[in-house]
Symmetry: C2
Subunit: 542 residues, 2 copies
Amino acid sequence: MRWWGWGEDEHATSLPAPAERLLRDELGIEPPGAPRGPRGGPESVALPTSRLSDIARRGLVDAVGAEHVADDHAARVTRAAGRSYPDLIALRGERLEAGPDAVVRPANTPQVAAVLAACAEAGVAVVPFGGGTSVVGGVAPVAGGHRAVVALDLTRMAGVLDVDAVSLTARVQPGILGPALERELAGSGLTLGHFPQSFEYSTVGGWVATRSAGQASTGVGRIDELVQSLRFETPAGPLETLDVPASAAGPSVKQMVMGSEGVLGVISEVTLRVRPLPAAKRYEAWSIPSFAQGAEALRALEQAGAAPDVSRLSDEHETALTVALGSSGSRAEALARTYLRVRGHERGCLMMVGFEGENATVAARRGRAAEVLRSAGGVNLGQRPGRAWQRTRFAAPYLRDELMDRGALVETLETATTWSNLATTYAAVRDALHGSLEALGTPPLVMCHVSHLYPTGACLYFTFIAKALGGRELEQWRAAKTAAGDAIAAAGATITHHHAVGCDHRPWMGAEVGELGLEALRALKARLDPAGIMNPGKLLPD
Amino acid sequence: MRWWGWGEDEHATSLPAPAERLLRDELGIEPPGAPRGPRGGPESVALPTSRLSDIARRGLVDAVGAEHVADDHAARVTRAAGRSYPDLIALRGERLEAGPDAVVRPANTPQVAAVLAACAEAGVAVVPFGGGTSVVGGVAPVAGGHRAVVALDLTRMAGVLDVDAVSLTARVQPGILGPALERELAGSGLTLGHFPQSFEYSTVGGWVATRSAGQASTGVGRIDELVQSLRFETPAGPLETLDVPASAAGPSVKQMVMGSEGVLGVISEVTLRVRPLPAAKRYEAWSIPSFAQGAEALRALEQAGAAPDVSRLSDEHETALTVALGSSGSRAEALARTYLRVRGHERGCLMMVGFEGENATVAARRGRAAEVLRSAGGVNLGQRPGRAWQRTRFAAPYLRDELMDRGALVETLETATTWSNLATTYAAVRDALHGSLEALGTPPLVMCHVSHLYPTGACLYFTFIAKALGGRELEQWRAAKTAAGDAIAAAGATITHHHAVGCDHRPWMGAEVGELGLEALRALKARLDPAGIMNPGKLLPD
């Protein structure tokens, strides 16, 4: 991955003319004269000197071997940030306020335990580091009052240890990346089916630590539903849960680990619930007259147990940008547009649906969904846009680099709420983003989609783009983020459906779980991490 | 409910002749000369005098009003025990070692909080009490070093507060019993679909506190999957979770409450995920050549996403007793037997499957399941036994009274494990029960069924019957229970799939969650219940 953005350089895209026009006309954002990424390599980034003491270093070397303790500039810079907007601003500006004082790369579970022991002994904070793709500051190198902070890089622990093809489980190490995991499972005819947007660069450990949801979570479930059992190293020792499908033996210890974002310990092994590779996949797009009608149709499908595995409905604004981005200017497309206009869909909403499974089942499910979508006024746009979506499903973060090159503020945020509260929450967050950014003189384009369906509600995923306030990017970002977070909390929705809490959502954790809920989490932390070395500054407000 | 057993007196059953023969021939158990239940009412049961101090009583009266603080003999006896085998032995013997020193009946959430405050102040332990149906000692009146213990009877808090028909949720109070809940929901065309065997006499609060699973959990999920949000009163204050379908904001606080069995606090409100009442129900029975083949067929169905909502496969031993119990001696039945014998099923296993939902869906799912069952050598026995099972699905506890009247030890226990570990666990538990009871000279009849399917495994539910050792019932019971629990732990299976931990499973909690897992739970308890007044002696080993 590019050390200052997303993807590799050769993947760089460029925007089609209609998208450029839309950005210029609506937001005053112009195409860049030249790419604005940093000029040098990671070596050229300003970074405070490492504070790692010789004693602490000796402890780490004893734990993992000298060749796996790095404190050179490049190693530190590349583990100094995640991929949030503030992270990207700092990396592009080639100036980091802080970095890990060293990077430690254990090879196995005993080495993880040894690193934690050495750090507790030496008063060094530990930031578990997988793919480094957090968009909420989850891997920020915060020392939290300790003498130093190290990044515990888990990417050497990236194996599939065991596959139980009878029980459909796979025991894996935490540092394995999405593509490698799926490649290994495919060798046994299996898949996990967990495809977050960060899939290419994120790890199993990161997914579990943040309670991630993949794009097909409507069909296969969230990562917390896909974990059968796990092993967890804490400064107070290991936690290990039983490899069983379910239990009634007390509050779930597994659930205490999932979503703990490194503040309680380090996930060192995960047994995942896998499934046979689907024989058939069918992705297609629909045009639905309005966002409200589309949401109602998705609710009907989900509550009837008939939802597609991937279900994603863009609002009018996201639809417009998606169409502009996908615009090829071909004659077929122009005809399709005319057809939709005649049908009253010129302001319609794009819906993407995907079905995976056995051939017969996919056909039957697809037919049932089509019935519901047609009665909601939907028009089938066929499989071509569905295939295009599948091809580009991980592309949005690449696009963000493009937009930042043009001097745009671009950010996403997500929440979940009940179906009956969906429209209210949608309006409140839109208003908050518009209000806060208009007050700064940078009116935004705010887009949203409904995805990740549940019988009782769904996720709302917002993207907003505005002209960046040069030199005041963080102030501008914080104004928008605060307004949106406050609106979400006031609506009684969750502050995060799948991005997690990290640094950025901490102010709303009190609204999320209440004061006593925070105290319960702090009590767990005090017991499992008595010295408070684990990932300071994340999840729990100070 | 009968104060010393299950059901009401008018429901008393009697065993058909073939069942009587089986018990006599295999176990030496004879029909009783006369029912052996206790002669008097609850007033005649020996019970230590109430230790409630005047000061403590005043605090409770202030909290709920004098008319809702009872310390008469009948009130105390009827909240002194659950429905475990040791409980029934004590009640039938009309001698209780302990009882609650008073029974307190709050009307609402503030009164629950006031009771907890008064008890913390006065040093009085609190046992939350719903239906009192625990089979693991979950409501035993243990004072745990405190001056007294009260039963916090929640049955006055039994309302449905709110139904959100759009989001399919219902906010209910904890003390509502299964039938009342389903009756109220049916008024809105809805159902929860949670039908544990205790359904008629157990409460929502009890289900959630014990992470219960209903008979249709394969279809609708466990209770912990059916809880959207909840409110929880602890001695340290209230916990309240958001009414959202999902969240990634830290470890789930909701999951810390579910399964906490009253040791952290009292569930005072639950928002449940409900669903439309099914238009169609189809229950039918199959005969499968062997338990192993049946389990394999259930695995195939579940892993293909095609399992019936209720799926239950009896082993050869349970099948024999079920047939004996259902034996009407009719000519049709004799013919059916002949037919099965011809097909090689004379030693076959009974499988009960149930489908609920829309008409078309039920038909399609039923057809798909039938295909798999036929290819496993199954023979369809039609809907008549299916309907009989539906009628008698809550009957087993009534039957237990019958068997105890005859001087039988009768007990059930359950576990869950992966599909690949199912046969090993099954054999280990059977051997343990046989070995331990044969060593005491009382060879048992051990029966088992597979139920509650998951893609990665299933529940094994054991019933065992032996001639009771008169006067040494508890010693005999403990020997069997210990042998079975040790076998389960050694097999790596869970000590309980849906009965919970209570007093009886505490010795195996260390095997279940490890020493540090216990410490994590204790840390939560120390923070939420600093005086340790909540349900002493349950869940956590001392």
